[in-house]
Amino acid sequence: MLSIDILLNAVVTGILLGSVYASLALGLGITFGILHIPNIAHPTLVIAGAFFVYTFGQWGFDPIFAALIGLAPFYILGVALYIFYSRVFERRGGANVLQSLTLFFGLSLVIEILLALSFGSELKSVSVSYIGSSLKLGLLTIPYRLLIPALLGPVMIAAVWLYLSRTNSGTAIRAVAHEERALSIAGLNPASVKQHAFGIATATAVVAGAALIMIGPVEPFAGRFQIGRVFAIVVLAGMGSIPGSLAIAIIIGVAEALVASYLNPSWAPGVAFAILLLGLAFRPQGLFGAAR
């Protein structure tokens, strides 16, 4: 007989994990989902964000506060990345998707190695007063180290979503992927809109990194295991649907938690990719997206 408390704890843990995955995928939802730039370096940028938070943690800063400090430098990093990317491919007129994938693949390797060279390749973690204890609700036991990052995710996602759907500059970001020329006719510079969008996407990486390092220790190459999840989330949510990505992330989180508690934790990394492959095979337009 499967006991109800194991099931309940697995489902709740899965929902919380899924919420964290959604914040990991948010930046990719902007770059890949909206701008169609396949930035596979995003998970590595999240790890770079986690190391940024770790460095500030060493100086006594709270991880969430450190993430807020990190927003500006990561925004600038993102703008710089976009300028490099567009310079490389503008000369050839239009970016070849596969070449840009290769470029970001190389970039993520370089970032990983630079992190490993400067921090060493062992696991790093942060310690804060509210990490370590747990919230007990009847049968449920929720560690704060998971609850707080999980609450961070929806807040950031809601903020980005409101920005994209309610403000003029957010609308410009959504418009630039659809019709670049119309945007320039309307008097906006598409290049600077894209730079801005890439900056925001990269800035979300530092918050996601803070969430990741609060949950557990992080090492420089940990981004690799997130690539499957974040792409699964963005693609299955239907390219650019941000509320959809939260839903998909929670589905993946729950599936992983169930696999981990009923089968074996070592099977869990394959779950997201299995879901992605099945999704691509049967519903390529995504679960929440319109057909393209």
Partner: protein
């Protein structure tokens, strides 16, 4: 074309003859130990290029195919005692099946999804191997390779010659694909998939064929590996550096022709072999990453393209 083919065949005969004769003339087995790795990368780069270069579908999961070949060969040899050529052949068949499966799931959509799915293949296969105790799980398994036959002076030399034969067969296969109707069709796919489809090129079937051939070569490249190291474990069998080199080598050499990946692999693998002996392996990956970025950004045609551009300018 005829004259080129005769020259190519002559080249193969000379290289194979050298592969059998050199072990008797050069005494130090270390050269063959290092040469094995270089030839392994020649095979990997060639196999990757059949799909990545000719058809333009980037496979980030070369390590998945390689690792599958490593483990199948190790398993078949240690438990069933199959002879080495059969191990290599079954690894190639498994690679082809994996390639078709993955291609069938993802190729109908878009190149970018294919690329992402290939990243997943490595993680899925590594997870599976981790969980199968017959394959040694996370701790790996020891493999005692076959005793070298009479025509080879030692195990290092024997592995070298076997790898040379696989590499030569792969390059010949890649060249055949390139000059036959398959290559013409794949080039059409690469130039414009929609236009190719409209003019009656069976794009999906061609891509699946390319996936199968590419997967077979990549898995075959891995099959002698357990006998080379005498020990297999998931982390090295599915190592990231294999997937990285599989992309970097053809891109550096040039992806349009079979000579590009061979050139890139000979160059990059030799540099890496010198670098791992003299510098750390982390700096080695950093170096490859930077070279990869530089070539994608500034010389997308690779070395072959740079050479031919220079020649083109010199001629008139």
């Amino acid at each position: 074309m005829r004259k080129n083919s005769i020259l190519f065949l002559a080249g193969i005969v000379i290289i194979l003859a050298l592969g059998f004769l050199l072990p008797w003339t050069i005494r130090n087995p270390f050269y063959f130990f290092v040469g094995y790795v270089v030839l392994q990368y020649v095979t990997i780069a060639t196999g990757w290029n059949i799909l990545g270069g000719y058809a333009g579908y980037i496979n980030f999961g070369a390590a998945g195919f390689f690792g599958a070949g490593v483990y199948l060969a190790a398993f078949l040899y240690t438990t069933l005692g199959l002879p080495l050529p059969l191990c290599i052949l079954s690894a190639a068949v498994l690679g082809a099946i994996l390639g078709v499966l993955m291609g069938y799931l993802t190729l109908r959509i878009q190149g970018v999804y294919f690329a992402i799915a290939t990243l997943g293949l490595v993680i899925v296969l590594e997870t599976i191997v981790h969980n199968i105790s017959a394959l040694g799980g996370a701790s790996g398994m020891a493999v005692y390779g076959p005793r070298p036959p009479g025509w080879s002076p030692g195990p290092s030399q024997y592995n070298f010659t076997v790898m040379l034969m696989i590499a030569v067969a792969s390059v010949a296969l890649a060249r055949f694909v390139e000059i036959s109707w398959i290559g013409r069709g794949l080039r059409a796919v690469r130039a414009s998939e929609d236009a190719a489809e409209c003019s009656g090129v069976p794009t999906l079937r061609l891509k699946l064929l390319a996936c199968a051939l590419s997967g077979a070569v990549l898995a075959a490249a891995g099959s002698p590996y357990p006998f080379y190291t005498s020990y297999v474990e998931p982390v090295t069998a599915f190592s990231l550096i294999i997937g990285l080199n599989a992309i970097a080598m053809p891109l550096i050499g040039g992806t349009k022709s079979w000579a590009g990946p061979v050139l890139g692999a000979l160059l990059l693998a030799s540099v890496q072999q010198i670098a791992t002996v003299t510098i750390s392996s982390e700096l080695n990956i950093l170096f490859v990453g930077l070279v990869l970025i530089a070539f994608v950004a500034f010389a997308p045609g690779g070395l072959a393209d740079l050479f031919s551009r220079k020649q083109g300018r010199a001629k008139p």
